[in-house]
Amino acid sequence: MADVLGSFEQAVLLAIIRLDDRAYGRAILNEVAARLERDIAAGAVQATLERLERKGLVRSTLGSGTPIRDGRARRFYSVSAAGLRELNEARTTHDTIWRGFARPLKARP
């Protein structure tokens, strides 16, 4: 079985897919925070994006800055074919593990 992505890595990859061509650092951070329903540190998202890029699961390109960020460039991310394959494998693994169980799980009396 291939390396299964962690849940945070999956959340980041899915956020990039959802945001499409608006997927840059801050937007990804807010999307992940909204989906996981908790405050996320910018460093956590940044470290995950760097790791995913090193693994070849995401690609990035530099975009132009805006006045609110004092003209500093944005880095836009997209999921690579390998990233999509890993996401599909993670979903398959998840579904396989849960097959046969009814949710929510109940304690034995």
């Binding site: 650092g25 910018a42 460093g43 940044q46 800055g65 609110i68 960020r69 004092d70 500093r72």
Partner: protein
């Protein structure tokens, strides 16, 4: 437009690798101005910014603090829980293997943090931030650890002849030195209070020596990374 405090902004620039410096600081600035200031107000938005910078430091360098913290805990445990005679269980080991170990490890870790910080950020000052940050994390841990273990450790120590002797020597000297008019080393000082002030003194003096070591060693590490950068395509800025 509002700006985050200058110090964490400067630290952030010394923490981030070259290719992430502009984009990540831009992301944080945008979030700070567009979302945090309107929602939280200036003070809490500034605290949020500090937290983000601290989080980025921790993710990059936390593991440098681990060996020093580990040695500190081991040293404290063996120093507290001694044989009934008062001897340390570490006395069986050769002196040269025990006594110089904590300072040597600390110096080595600070130098390594300096090298890695400079190499990662391609700035000599990046190494200094890594080393001094390591000191700061260890120092904070020391404060928490010594407070958390004060009572249980004092319970064990006050029944050991080594510690009773140390307490009596300290509190029954003829003319104990005064510290700005304050002196806990008085004959009527309880063991627990004496331990507390011993920890406070340790936090202060060990803190100063570790801070000095982290600045010196971090600078040396940064300089070593500058030399090593000659074999790397992109040059380290001498900032």
């Amino acid at each position: 437009m509002s700006n985050p405090p200058a110090l964490p902004q400067a630290l952030l620039h010394l923490l981030l690798p070259v290719d992430a410096r502009e984009t990540v600081s831009g992301d944080l600035l945008e979030e700070y101005r567009e979302a945090r200031i309107p929602a939280l107000g200036r003070l809490r938005a500034n605290l949020w910014y500090w937290r983000q910078v601290g989080g980025i430091w921790l993710r990059a360098y936390w593991w440098f603090a681990v060996p020093i913290v580990f040695l500190l805990v081991v040293h404290d445990i063996f120093n507290t829980f001694r044989a009934p005679s008062g001897a340390s269980y570490l006395d069986r080991l050769p002196t040269l293997a025990v006594a110089p170990m904590p300072p040597l490890v600390a110096v080595g870790v600070f130098v390594l943090a300096g090298v890695y910080g400079s190499w990662r950020t391609r700035r000599r000052a990046g190494g200094l931030v890594a080393a001094v940050g390591t000191f700061f994390v260890v120092w904070l841990f020391m404060g928490v650890w010594w407070n958390a273990t004060l009572y249980p450790f004092a319970q064990a120590q006050q029944s050991n002849p080594y510690w009773i002797q140390a307490w009596q020597w300290s509190t029954h000297r003829a003319h104990p030195p005064s510290f700005f008019g304050f002196n806990p080393d008085t004959p009527d000082e309880t063991f627990l209070r004496w331990m507390f002030w011993d920890n406070v003194g340790g936090l202060f003096f060990l803190g100063i020596s570790m801070l000095t070591a982290s600045v010196v060693c971090g600078s040396i590490g940064g300089a070593l990374a500058v030399i090593a950068a000659r074999w790397r395509p992109a040059e380290i800025h001498k900032s």
